[in-house]
């Protein structure tokens, strides 16, 4: 590994909006996704899912299904007796197929492999199962009540990658708890001039990556090969190797382009079941989820929260008290990490004398909940920021003024023992406020709001990359970052081109094949440009150093790569190999993290129709505080995408459950934002203070806007006269609130 001693004087490739490297093939429909791949002798897999939320499996009869022409095998929990069939990177609580019990509507109970998709579908319907209903745990409050039925009675067994220190035993239905304490909050609350408090609800949300979870598995002896829609191929590899008892290197995962991820394809999802089915069938099998199946494969946690904020009469923030219950469904998935990140986000980036945060991850009989872009921060920021605005209202101050007075400044402590603040939040919020016309005259029923937050980003900082300089002067970058739309292949080509001194057009970046691409922890947590990008920069700098050494011993120009290669190898072949690595050594431990604080700053202007409760979002602005924008256009595009997802989360997205049954399992009933939901004005302000730990001072983006926008919308709506404590802000909910306000005499015409 080479350390970079001096950066190039002039950067020619960095900060330029190079066209996306994948545009050509994606625009022509040539980009391959897992569902486009055909493996010889591949069978079609279909899954039978539980029609009830909680019950004991009395009997499974597969005999009729097995007789259907074209069916190769039917898999049930009874087939998994030769392995320990429980997995989960955080908590090993999830069976590959339901064993003895089903714990949520949609849980995998059996699977069929057949020659055609039609035969598999018919066979799934021919399986007959008898259930004995068990009491359904449908809400977090019920789940933590005394005497609540237990969703799982198995002891907690930590997964391979929980990363949460000592994992305590399960407490009833609470599988993980994260707490923060600072000072003496109760003493502060007792004497505070202003105390704002409330109870809040955040809904269950579906990530809707347009490409559903799709996996092809092939098992030959102790070699397992997968083509999978996965964001974290190396973590999935380890879990598959562990589950099926084969050496890690024998599990080979290919990751082509992903049709969106947003966290829904992080960690292990449909891979274990597909492998188990292929293992029994003795042939490769593909399982491709339908939308309704992906919705119950993973979703965003619904949550209830009680929060209090104390302040002085002149708007100085003093203390905060937060209690929240996250509904992780029947299996933990990434719930513990979501809850820890939420806990970190809960106080908000202010100078508190005291706070207390108590966040719990709770099992219920809903579908498992895991990662979705800006998790934790999206859950808490709108609540905390609405209380800051309420403090401003009671103190008679401009919300921007309260933030100027209380926000942390660069270098100040965010969380005890953690990384100090590495961003100019006051500058950021002033920029987004200006972008939506903060000081302009307000009209009736129109409101403006800002919001500020931080998201612990970067996950565990382990990534590596290899650069190969070929004899024809072209460069191949091997790095396992998953291209799911966010553009790492373009950014990495720019970084490698910059370091080696070639045209980015001559750099090829491909996706993961875990047998050949070097280790990368994951694609998520806004980490790829910062951490994998740093590994690419180091690998490319290693090539540059080798070229310089060859040049020093000759009279060839350092920029004449072809001549240098020919000189070094003595013929027109050979290749230089550069190696780059990032590991936590010397950069602080995971517990002391995060790698960086992702900035979540946004502003919105909304108009509410008092007769219908309909909200029109007119203007939004977000700050992409990225340290250094490798490709400014792609940075802007990340914020725009996150903004619309934020509007969906704020205004109408919600998975509706009744007695544990999911009611809206198609896109007819679950609405995601369309073209018509685009605000009139959408601004992304790029902030470049070169204060990130990544290449050229870069730090990640793409999630912050999703946390910031719902909070800004909620604050804007309150500014328009309608304070809300429940998302999404559907017209019905808003209209009812307006009627309540009218009755209370608090509605301003």
């Amino acid at each position: 590994m080479t350390t970079i001693e001096h950066e190039p004087q002039t950067r020619t490739q960095i900060g330029r909006s190079q066209p996306r490297r994948d545009a050509h093939e994606k625009l022509r429909g040539r980009a391959q996704f897992v569902g486009d791949i055909l493996v010889p002798r591949m069978l079609h897999g279909k899954v039978l899912r539980s029609p009830i939320a909680h019950g004991r499996i009395v009997s499974i009869d597969t005999s009729a299904a097995e007789k259907i022409p074209g069916v190769v095998c039917v898999l049930t929990g009874a087939d998994l007796h030769d392995i320990d069939p429980y997995y989960g990177h955080a908590i090993k609580d999830r069976p590959i197929l339901a064993i003895d019990k089903v714990r949520f509507h949609g849980e995998q109970v059996a699977a069929v492999a057949a020659e055609t998709a039609a035969a598999a579908t018919v066979a799934v319907e021919a399986i007959s199962i008898e259930y004995d209903d068990l009491p359904v745990v449908t809400g977090v409050e019920d789940a933590v009540a005394d005497g609540a039925p237990l969703v799982t009675d198995r002891p907690t067994k930590p997964g391979l990658f929980h990363g949460l220190g000592e994992l305590p035993p399960r407490d009833g239905n609470v599988c993980y708890r994260y707490t923060l304490d600072r000072g003496e909050p109760e003493a502060v609350f007792a004497h505070a001039d202003i105390v704002v408090e409330g109870e809040y609800e955040f809904p269950s949300v579906y990530q809707y990556a347009m490409e559903t979870h799709t996996v092809i598995a092939q098992v030959e002896g102790d070699e397992i090969t997968l083509w999978a829609t996965c964001q974290h191929p190396f973590l999935v590899r380890a879990e598959i190797a562990d589950l099926f008892g084969v050496p890690t290197a024998n599990v080979r995962i290919h990751v082509p382009y992903l049709g969106g991820g947003f966290g829904s394809k992080s960690y292990t999802k449909m891979e274990p079941l597909t492998v188990a089915l292929a293992r029994k069938a003795g042939r490769p099998v593909r399982i491709q989820n339908r939308v309704g199946e992906s919705m119950v494969t993973t979703r965003r946690h619904n949550m209830t929260c009680r929060m209090r904020t104390a302040a002085t009469a002149d708007g100085r923030l003093l203390a905060r008290d937060v209690e929240c219950l996250f509904d992780t469904g029947a299996y933990a998935d990434n719930g513990p990490r979501v809850v820890a990140t939420a806990g970190d986000a809960a106080p908000g980036p202010y100078r508190w004398a005291a706070y207390r945060v108590d966040a719990s991850c709770v099992y219920t009989n809903l579908a498992p909940a895991g990662s979705y872009r800006a998790f934790g921060a999206t859950h808490l920021q709108w609540i905390g920021e609405s209380q800051v605005d309420e403090v401003a209202r009671r103190a008679g101050l401009d919300p921007l003024e309260v933030r100027r007075a209380n926000l942390l400044t660069p270098g100040e402590e965010v969380r005890a023992g953690g990384k100090p603040l590495d961003a100019d939040l006051i500058g950021d919020v002033e920029k987004v406020a200006a972008a939506i016309g903060w000081g302009e005259e307000r009209r009736p029923h129109v409101g403006r709001g800002v919001s500020v937050g931080l998201l612990a980003a970067g996950a565990h900082p382990v990534s590596s990359a290899v650069c190969r300089l070929e004899a024809d002067g072209r460069v191949v970058v091997l790095v396992a970052t998953t291209e799911m739309g966010q553009g790492p292949r373009t950014a990495f080509a720019q970084i490698a081109a910059e370091e080696i001194g070639v045209d980015p057009e001559r750099v090829t970046v491909q996706g993961a094949d875990t047998r050949f691409t070097p280790y990368d922890r994951s694609t998520g947590a806004s980490r790829s440009t910062t951490i994998a990008g740093l590994a690419v920069q180091r690998a490319a700098a290693d090539i540059r150093a080798q070229l310089d050494r060859i040049a020093e011993a000759s009279d060839i120009e350092p920029g004449d790569h072809l001549a240098l290669m020919r000189k070094h190898f003595g013929f027109a072949g050979g290749e230089l190999i550069g190696r780059g690595e990032v590991s936590p050594v010397g950069t602080g431990s995971y517990a002391e993290g995060p790698v960086f604080w992702e900035v979540c700053v946004g502003a919105a202007e909304v108009a509410v129709d008092p007769d219908t409760g309909f909200i029109e979002v007119r203007r939004t602005a977000t700050a992409a505080d990225v340290g250094r924008a490798i490709n400014p256009q792609l940075v802007t595009r990340q914020d725009e995408g996150a903004t619309l997802q934020g509007l969906g989360n704020a205004l109408f997205e919600e998975m509706v459950y009744e007695d544990g049954l999911l009611l809206n399992e198609t896109l007819l009933d679950y609405r995601v934002p369309s073209f018509e939901d685009l605000p009139e004005e959408m601004t992304c302000v790029i902030v470049e203070n070169e204060d990130g730990p990544g290449p050229y001072g870069a730090k990640g983006c793409g999630e912050g806007a999703l946390a910031a926008v719902p909070a800004a919308v909620v604050n804007a709506l309150a500014d328009a006269g309608v304070p809300m404590r429940e998302l999404p802000l559907t017209p019905e909910r808003v209209w009812r609130r307006i009627q309540d306000l009218k009755e209370e005499g608090k509605w301003q015409q």
Partner: protein
């Protein structure tokens, strides 16, 4: 049953099952995988192809109903000279991310550009609302299409 149709300008005669969807026929029988499966209920537009020049959701369209028609998929559109403009505008504006909705989006855009139904921002937002994109937030696509409509 046997159907005859034109796919991307080539005559095709093929056996299809009566209940076979056009999407499955194109992807599985003809290997034209540019049309994508996502919602299955005619909401998302990822499976959009043109039948006699008009956009349809091939996930809810029987292959048999396409008999005698001219079907255009992204693979066919990409061979046409006018595709160059779409390519240039979408690339310049980075109006794509994961690329899963992109083929369907381009087919709808090409059809509606031709019929003059994307003349202003209002029209673009309304008439493209049957093609979902979860990545871009639509802003970049709006810019690219507005450019194309202006230049057309």
């Amino acid at each position: 049953m046997e159907i005859a149709l034109s796919v991307n300008g080539r005559e095709v005669v093929h056996d299809v099952a009566p209940q076979e969807l056009l999407l499955d026929f194109l992807r599985d029988s003809l290997g034209l995988t540019g049309a994508k499966r996502s919602c299955d209920v005619q909401v998302c537009g990822a499976c959009t192809v043109l039948v006699d020049g008009l956009p349809v959701s091939s996930c809810c369209y029987l292959a048999a109903d396409a008999a005698g028609s001219e079907v255009t998929t992204i693979e066919g559109l990409a061979e046409r000279p006018e595709f160059e403009r779409l390519d240039e505008a979408f690339t310049r504006h980075a109006a794509l991310q994961c690329g899963f909705c992109t083929p369907g989006m381009l087919l709808t855009v090409s059809s509606l550009l031709e019929s003059g139904e994307l003349e202003n921002e209002e029209q673009i937002k309304r008439n493209l609302s049957g093609n979902l994109c979860r990545c871009t937030g639509y802003h970049a696509i709006l810019e690219a299409v507005a450019d194309l409509a202006g230049a057309g």
